[in-house]
């Protein structure tokens, strides 16, 4: 780790979701080794440098794997069955997310192109008040 330059906003989970609320998928880029990291974190997981800058992801990538959830947690009960995928963004990072409009395995194929879409945050009284990003086939 090298000494941290103060990054604004800080490279945190909370900042990530504030950007999602603005319709942006943001990562941090390590100024030392060049690695692009999402979710953002205060230390580069490539070289342990703390010298980072914000970069915006284009929001496109490739399907790595997926599942279709039939038995959901309480908060997702009304959505089931729903699909969650892991997508490798073109800039490098992999992210999980719900795939809109997919409930059957034959609607997806590993390796296919995917893109990010945004929806307004659900209204919640309690912590956390984060929005979600979603995926769809590109």
């Amino acid at each position: 780790m090298s000494q941290q330059e103060a990054l604004t906003p800080p490279p945190t989970v909370e900042s990530f979701y504030k950007f999602v609320a603005e319709g942006k998928l943001m990562a941090v880029k390590c100024k030392k080794c060049g690695k692009i990291i999402a979710p953002p974190r205060p230390v580069c997981d490539g070289c342990l440098s703390r010298d980072l800058e914000w970069v915006q992801l284009k929001g496109e990538g490739e399907l790595v794997t997926f599942t279709i959830i039939h038995v959901p947690p309480v908060q997702f009960a009304s959505m089931a069955p729903y699909t969650v995928a892991v997508v490798k963004m073109d800039e490098g990072p992999k992210l999980p997310g719900i795939v809109k409009g997919v409930t059957q395995p034959d609607q997806l194929k590993i390796g296919m192109r995917m893109k990010v879409v945004f929806e307004p945050a659900p209204q919640q009284q309690t912590w956390p008040q984060w929005p979600r990003y979603y995926f769809e086939p590109a």
């Binding site: 989970v13 790595v64 599942t67 959901p72 947690p73 009960a77 999980p96 395995p105």
Partner: protein, 394 residues
Amino acid sequence: MISMSGKPLAAIVSAGLSKFGRREGLYGRELFLEAAGEAFDRCPNLDPRRDIKGVFVGHMGESYEHQGHTGPTISDWLGLTPTQGFRFESACASSSAALRCAVMAIASGLLDIVLVGGVEKMTHRTTPEVTEYLAMASDFPFEQWHGLTFPGLFALMATAHMHKYGTTEEQLAMVAVKNHKNASMNPKAQFQKVITLEDALKSRVIAWPLKLFDCSPITDGASCAILVKPELAKKFTDTPIYIIGSGGATDRLGVYARDDITSLLSAKVASQEAYKMAGVEPKDIDVAEVHDCFTIAEVILYEDLGFCPKGYGGKFIEEGQTHIGGKIPVNTSGGLKAKGHPVGATGVAQVYEIYLQLTGQAGPRQVSGAEIALTHNMGGSGASAFVHIYRRGD
């Protein structure tokens, strides 16, 4: 057989296990006493108050009983106050984390006799509640927040493994069939009935491609073992077993963040550490308990623990290599899948089975001539894992 090159780190001189299943009206502290009572009864030379210097307990979730601070809770209910008590949490590997720290405590010379165990009381809660409490072991802001459950996380691995290696749903179901068969020979197991391949394949989808019979159940239970420094072992039993290897490792918390979603890095790294310490190789293992929280996990673990080549796990179960009588019997107890999975108790419950196997007390599921054994226990979707290797002590 191998040369006995692994120096004993600690000796197990007794072990106990509660009945697994739905244990109505019994809470964690009471279940733990059932397991400890068996361990004490098996070891009449042990005077718990005089001898036990510390209580090392694995316990995953304080939400179940609205009760944390499990170290003193269990120490108190054992009647051992003011012995020192510790709670370890590493999700479903909590009691193996306790075991590894207990091994270090013994090896340090600071404590010479310790009680190690684990406990979870789960069935008094609803399935959605349990699903929520279990999910706390995964990455909240990215996995839980995007609707992933534990079956879902292992389903991500299954989809990728099937795609890359051609593993089939039938092969996964064969793991369930084997483990239910083994459980039918284990009176402490939650499930006592054999199942057919058809039963497994026709069960309802939980998280595609995983079905009900690919998943371990919700279980109440507790486990316990008595660890002593090797030089003291024969004071307590004629048939100690020795821990000769201990390894621990982590992986990225989020499945999404891992380089290879078809592999469990923590199992690879922890087992390599344990094998090296023990001076044994995978082919030397006579019997193993591995973390089959979902059938796909057992298949991947065959590979990452070195029992078979990478990508060959599906074929390995299909060939029957891990059945009792096969090349390397895996989960003779019935595993998490059919013995049951009271999460905090599972790691030391694996130790209990190995204790029975290496002391020749496993009854109809005994692996004859077993001398070297392995346990693998993982937390969550594999973000933590602990591997221990044991040798029969006689």
